[in-house]
């Protein structure tokens, strides 16, 4: 009899907490999937506002778009066949970080130190392919909508919240994607490079160098760390490279390209 009472109470408790948990999941589902239905025009407007903010606060140089290709980017854009992708524009951004990131509206921003850090064009296009992966999977909108409400974003696009534009701009530079998203972008980059016949060892080499320069995180922390460990990424790229049937190197004068890009940002 007493045991029945305990079981009954346990059932009540489980049902009570389970219902609350379930109701929250059901009623917030739309909010979580909002990034999928976020209008592309609104996304472009949001991206343009953020770009404008970067322009106001630093040097921003367009190097590739559907209507304009910087002469030094002709070889790279052909090798990557960027016009076949969802990318709207590629910009050089004045920053001291070895970084590249995507913006809403399918724009990619590349910081000059990243170009200087890459020793070969294959390393560099590997990183761009990774960023195209983020664009392809719409990771940026997914991340933004997780941090901002839909209404807040609408007011940003409507020009009613300039402080949020600044906040978003800062977030783009400092935030990182989830580990799953990074892995997804890596995987996309490898498939993309394979499809375009570009050697993937460049991407592996880039991760190896990054691993050597960044603070070395102990292996036991790899489960918690945001980005996949660079070692894991190198291994992924290396294993993928082994399957490569044929790949080509990009024929261009890399040192000259680096110099030109530095001059462009002066």
């Amino acid at each position: 009899m007493k045991n029945r009472k305990v079981w009954f109470q346990l059932l009540v408790v489980v049902l009570f907490f389970g219902s609350i948990w379930g109701l929250i999941i059901v009623f917030t589902e739309d909010e979580d999937n909002a990034w999928k239905t976020w209008d592309h025009e609104m996304e472009s407007s949001l991206g343009n506002l953020i770009l404008e903010n970067y322009r106001l606060n630093g040097h921003l140089e367009l190097v590739w778009s559907e209507d304009f290709v910087h002469p030094d980017w002709v070889v790279l854009s052909k090798a990557l066949e960027i016009e076949e992708t969802d990318v709207s524009g590629i910009f050089l951004y004045d920053s001291e970080e070895i970084n590249a990131f995507t913006l809403p509206g399918n724009n990619i921003l590349i910081c000059l130190p990243l170009i200087e850090f890459a020793d070969t064009p294959e390393e560099f296009v590997g990183v761009i392919a990774h960023e195209i992966g983020h664009i392809h999977h719409r990771h940026i909108m997914k991340m933004i909508i997780q941090k901002f409400t839909i209404n807040a974003l609408i007011s940003v696009v409507a020009g009613q919240s300039s402080s949020s534009v600044i906040q978003l701009s800062e977030m783009m530079v400092s935030s990182s994607f989830s580990r799953d998203n990074e892995r997804e972008a890596d995987q996309f980059a490898l498939n993309f490079l394979t499809r375009n016949g570009i050697a993937k060892h460049g991407l592996a080499r880039f991760f190896e160098k990054l691993n050597a320069t960044e603070f070395n995180i102990p292996q036991w922390m790899s489960l918690l760390n945001s980005h996949p460990m660079h070692d894991d990424r190198v291994e992924l790229v290396r294993s993928f490279s082994a399957d490569t049937i044929s790949s080509k190197s990009i024929q261009m004068n890399w040192d000259e390209f680096q110099e030109r890009m530095s001059e462009l940002m002066e």
Partner: protein, 150 residues
Amino acid sequence: MVSGENIPIREREDAMSAYLMMFAAAAVGLPLPTINLVAALIYWYLNRSKSRFIKFHILQSLYSQIVTSFMNIVLIFWSVRIFLFKTLEFTDVYKGYLVITLIANMMYFVFSIVAAVKARKGQFFYFMVIGQITYQQVYDNKKEIELPNS
């Protein structure tokens, strides 16, 4: 059931302390929810040979702290992975868990205060599920004979 009318004041205070000490322990332990659990375990160990009335309240407090601490640890680990290390995503499942953990903590807090007041009066207060289990463990043990209060 046991009547608490003849329970000495000292025993009532010991029983009440089982609930009240979690406030002090929680203050020291925040944001580590395990500290109050360690304190509860020590308190149980020191008082394990005392009367059944004290034992009941100490065990009820301990069991409820085990449940809430477990929920809090899971929440902290989950939150760290989402917000600090960004290994996981901020999902609806997480939001739901966050809410039920907050409710569980609030219930634990309110029930502990009520139970502490009741214990001070020499009475019983049964937490859902845990109260019944604890009572059966402490009072339905036929091998143990309650010693008269000295």
